[in-house]
Symmetry: C2
Subunit: 482 residues, 2 copies
C-alpha cells in the first residue's frame, strides 16, 4: 500500500523545495475550507493535492451538508429548529463514544457556518424537497437522517437538516467543490497538483515542520513554518487497513470514495505520534427505501425476525443489519406495496402465503410466519408496538403474492465509507494517545474521527469537513511561526 | 491517566541507571514467559514490574489455558483433537479480522507449548472436569468455548481445550504465576519491583534503546541493548481509553483485571510509532449458565425475541447481547428448570402465563408469547430449528410459574477485559501502521491484539500471553546488540 506512516527526521531533509506558513494536504472540502481560513488569517498557504485537480471524494458526493439550528432556509421553509434540538438528536444518534465537545460546538455555530458557505458563493435554493440522502432536483432541504423515526422522534423535535447545494441532478458535490476551489484559487493559496504527500518531517523536538511529497516520482520537500493540516480523506480504498481496523466493511460492495481515500493522511499522522480512534466505525448505507413504499415492507434476518424499525434512516438500518445480522437480511413485501426497488436487487422468493415464502427462503418453519402475523396484527391497528415504525409507513401485508427482496451483502448494493481516523481537538489540533498536542499538526475531514461514530445521517461528513476544516485552518494560521 | 505515550529522545537521557540485553516491562504470564525464553537464549534480562510482586492479571485469573491439537491430557481423557480441528474452530470463532498466521502457528505448536509449561513446573492433573470458564476442583480439562454449540459443532470436531492449572479452588492463576515467577527468579533474570515504566527511549534513528521508569517518584533510566518487550496488560482499567476506543464496554460492571491494566504498555508503544488494532474488541462475559439447567432457559431482548442459541459460550452470548441488543436481555425460565443463578441476579417478572410475564416486563403484546410458543413447538420435538440450541439443552417451558431473570447491564454482573492492542508479528515484533518494524520493540499478552478478535473462548489470553510471550523473548534475545 506504499510506505507513508514513518516520519522523516529534519536532519535527513537535503533542502527545502518551497515553504509556507501553512501546508494543506488534500484539496477536498476539508482542505479547501482549511486553506480559505488560513489565508483569511493572513497565512502564506500552500495546498498539495495528489490528483490532477482538487475535489476529492467531496466532488463525487451528493453535495448534502448537515446543518441546522435555524438556518435561513429552514426558517423560510417553515421548519422550527434550534441548536439544542439539533444537539439532542446528534448526541442520541451518533453515540456511544460520541465527541460531545465537537457536537456542541457544531450545533451552536451551524447557522453561522451556513452563512459562511453562502459567502463563499455556494448556492442553496430556498426550497424543501422531502427526504433522502440526495435531491435529484435542484432543491435544498431534506430529512437526511432518522429525525422522524423512533426513538429520535421522542428525543428531539425533528427538522430537516440536509442542505443540498443547488444543482440539477444528484451531482451537487461537484458544484460545491467548483465554487470552493474557485475561492481557494482567488484567495492566493498556492496550489500544487499531482503532488503526492508521503511523510511528515519532524524536528529534534518531534514538532511537525514539513512534508515530503513526490512529483512525477521525485521527492520534494516542503517546509511548514506554522503547521501542516492533513485533509486527505478516509481509508475505505486501502484494503489492508480495512482488513485490520474494520474487517466487517469488506462485505460491502460499493465504496463511496475517490481513489485517494487510501488512509495516507491517517498513516502520516500515526507516524508522528497521533492517536487514532473509532477506526471500526463507518457509514454503512443499505439503500432499500426508493421507492418510498418499500418502507412499508418488513425487514427480516435469516431467523425470520425483524430487528429494527424500517423507517430508520438507511444508514441506521445498514449498520444494524451488518453489525448485528451479518448482512443477511431480506425485505418482505406484498403485491400492494411492491414497486421495483432502486437500486435494483434480486427477488429471493415469492409465495402466495407466508408459509410458502418461508419455505422458499429456507427459513425455519413458523419463524417468518410468526413475525409477519404479529406485524400484521399491529399494522391493522396502525401500530408497531415492538419496533415503533411510524404509522404512516404501516400497512398489513395482506395482498398476495408476497416476495422477499434479497438485501444480503452477497447480492445487494451496500455502500460504505470509513468514519474513524485521527483524534483531534475541536479546533483541529492532532492529539497523541495521552491527549497532548502533536505540535505543528492539524487535521480535518475523513482523515479524522468527527461528529459521528454510528447512526450516521447524510451530510455529516461534508458538515464536519467544512466546519472543522475551517477551524483547523484558523488554528494552524494562529500558531507560532518557526 | 498519567503521561506515558510520548517518547524520550536518547539525547535527553542524563545517564543509564542500569542496562541489559533485554528489558521486560511487566511480570504477568506474558512477561514471565518472555523473560524465561530470553534467558534461555543467553540474554542478560531485566524485568521491571510496577507492583510490589509479579503476577499481574494472570495471577487473578482462573488459570485456564486454551491448548489443544492432541495434548497428553486430551489423549489420556479420551478426546481426539488435532491442530487442524483446533485451527478450524479458532478461525471460525475468532473472526472476522482474525490474525490467521498467529492462529496457525499457535495450533501447530500447542502440544509443544503444553510440554514447555509442564517443564516449567506447572502442574496439570490428568482429568476431565466438564465445561465452563473455571474448575472449582483441582481438575484440568474442560470445554471453555463454543466447541459443542452451533455453528461450531459442524465446522470442527469438538474437543475440550481449556487446560486449568492444578489447584483446589478457582484460584489456579495464582498457582500458575507462583510457579512461573519461581522459574524466572531461578533463571537469573534480574527483577525490579515497584518500578513503573513510563516512556520508551528512542535514538536518532527511532530505534527503541531503553526505558524511563519511576521508583518512589524518581526517574530511572534503563538501557536495552537488544530490545524492550512490552507485556504490561490491557486497558480496561483506564476509563479514558475505554471511552475513546471501546465505549460500549463501560456498561459492563466487573472489570477482570488488576489495577495495572491501565493501557500504559499500549500507549508506550504508540508513542514509538506502533500500530494498534481491534481496539474495540473485548471478552464480554455474561455469566448466566450456572447452574447448568439455566441453559434450558430462553434468552430474549426487549422486543421479546431470541437472538442466539443459549448454549453458545457465555462470552459469545455476552458479546451478542451487548453489541446487538445493547445489553438489554432477560432469561425466561419455568418452574422445572429454575434454580437460583450464580452469580445471583434479580427476577424482573413472574407470571403464570407467557402473557402475564410479557405484560409484567412491559413488552409489546404478543411479542414474547409468539417467541415462546414457537420455541416450545420446536422443543417438544427436541429441535430448535431457528437458533440450533443442542437438544440436550432443550425442554419446552410448560411448568408455571414462569420468570424472567434480569440480565440487563444495569442489574446483572457482566465481566469484561480488553482484547485490542499493539499490532505484532507472530514472533512478537511490534509493527507500524505500514507493517514495518518498530526496531528494538517487542510485545506480548494483552498489550497486544492476539488470537481472538471476537467469539472469545476462555483460556485464550493465558494461551497467547504465554505462547507469544515466549516467542517475543526469543526474538528480542536474538536481535543484534547495540
Amino acid at each position: 500500500m506504499g510506505r507513508a506512516a514513518a516520519i522523516r527526521p529534519l536532519r535527513e531533509v537535503p533542502g527545502w523545495d518551497d515553504e509556507a506558513d501553512v501546508i494543506v494536504v488534500g484539496l477536498g472540502a476539508a482542505g479547501a475550507c482549511a486553506a480559505l481560513e488560513a489565508r483569511s488569517a493572513g497565512a502564506d498557504t500552500l495546498a498539495l493535492e495528489r490528483a490532477s485537480g482538487g475535489g476529492g471524494t467531496s466532488a463525487l458526493s451528493t453535495g448534502q451538508i448537515y446543518l441546522g439550528g435555524g438556518t435561513p432556509i429552514q426558517q423560510k421553509c417553515g421548519f422550527e429548529d434550534s441548536p439544542d434540538e439539533m444537539y439532542r438528536y446528534l448526541m442520541a444518534s451518533c453515540g456511544p463514544g460520541v465527541d460531545e465537545p465537537k457536537i456542541r460546538l457544531f450545533c451552536d455555530h451551524s447557522v453561522e457556518h451556513f452563512s459562511w458557505l453562502v459567502a463563499q458563493g455556494i448556492p442553496f435554493k430556498e426550497s424543501y424537497y422531502g427526504d433522502g440522502s440526495y435531491t435529484p432536483t435542484d432543491d435544498c432541504l431534506s430529512y437526511s437522517g432518522s429525525e422522524l423515526a423512533h426513538p429520535y422522534l421522542d428525543i428531539a423535535r425533528p427538522a430537516p437538516r440536509g442542505h443540498t447545494v443547488q444543482q440539477e441532478s444528484i451531482e451537487s458535490g461537484g458544484m460545491l467543490m467548483r465554487r470552493l476551489l474557485q475561492k481557494v484559487e482567488n484567495s492566493g493559496t498556492r496550489i500544487l497538483l499531482d503532488t503526492l504527500c508521503e511523510t511528515l518531517v519532524l524536528d529534534e523536538d518531534r514538532r511537525v515542520v514539513g512534508v515530503v511529497a513526490r512529483i512525477a516520482g521525485s521527492p520534494r520537500y516542503y517546509r511548514a513554518r506554522r503547521g501542516v493540516i492533513l485533509a486527505a480523506g478516509g481509508f475505505i480504498n486501502n484494503r489492508e487497513m480495512v482488513e485490520r481496523y474494520a474487517p466487517l466493511l469488506l462485505k460491502c460492495t460499493l465504496r463511496l470514495a475517490s481513489d485517494g481515500d487510501d488512509g495516507r493522511g491517517i498513516r502520516m499522522g500515526m507516524g508522528a505520534g497521533a492517536d487514532t480512534i473509532r477506526m471500526e466505525t463507518a457509514s454503512i448505507v443499505l439503500p432499500f427505501t426508493v421507492p418510498k413504499a418499500l418502507i412499508q415492507g418488513v425487514m427480516v434476518n435469516r431467523q425470520g425476525q425483524r430487528f429494527i424499525n424500517e423507517d430508520a434512516y438507511q444508514t441506521v438500518v445498514g449498520e444494524a443489519a451488518l453489525r448485528g445480522q451479518d448482512g443477511q437480511v431480506y425485505l418482505i413485501v406484498d403485491d400492494a406495496i411492491y414497486e421495483p426497488p432502486f437500486p435494483p436487487t434480486e427477488v429471493a422468493a415469492v409465495g402466495d402465503t407466508f408459509e410458502e415464502l418461508e419455505r422458499e427462503l429456507g427459513f425455519a418453519q413458523g419463524s417468518l410466519q410468526s413475525t409477519l402475523e404479529l406485524y400484521n396484527r399491529g399494522a391493522q391497528r396502525g401500530e408497531d408496538p415492538i419496533f415503533h415504525k411510524a404509522s404512516s409507513h404501516l400497512a398489513p401485508l395482506i395482498h398476495p403474492p408476497f416476495a422477499a427482496l434479497d438485501y444480503t451483502t452477497e447480492t445487494a448494493i451496500w455502500a460504505v465509507f470509513t468514519l474513524g481516523g485521527l483524534r483531534t481537538s475541536p479546533d483541529g489540533a492532532v492529539l497523541t494517545p495521552d491527549g497532548e498536542l502533536v505540535e505543528g499538526l492539524f487535521a480535518a475531514g475523513r482523515t479524522t474521527s468527527g461528529l459521528a461514530a454510528q447512526g450516521y445521517s447524510s451530510g455529516l461528513s461534508l458538515a464536519d469537513g467544512t466546519f472543522f476544516g475551517r477551524r483547523a485552518g484558523r488554528k494552524a494560521a494562529a500558531s507560532i511561526s518557526r
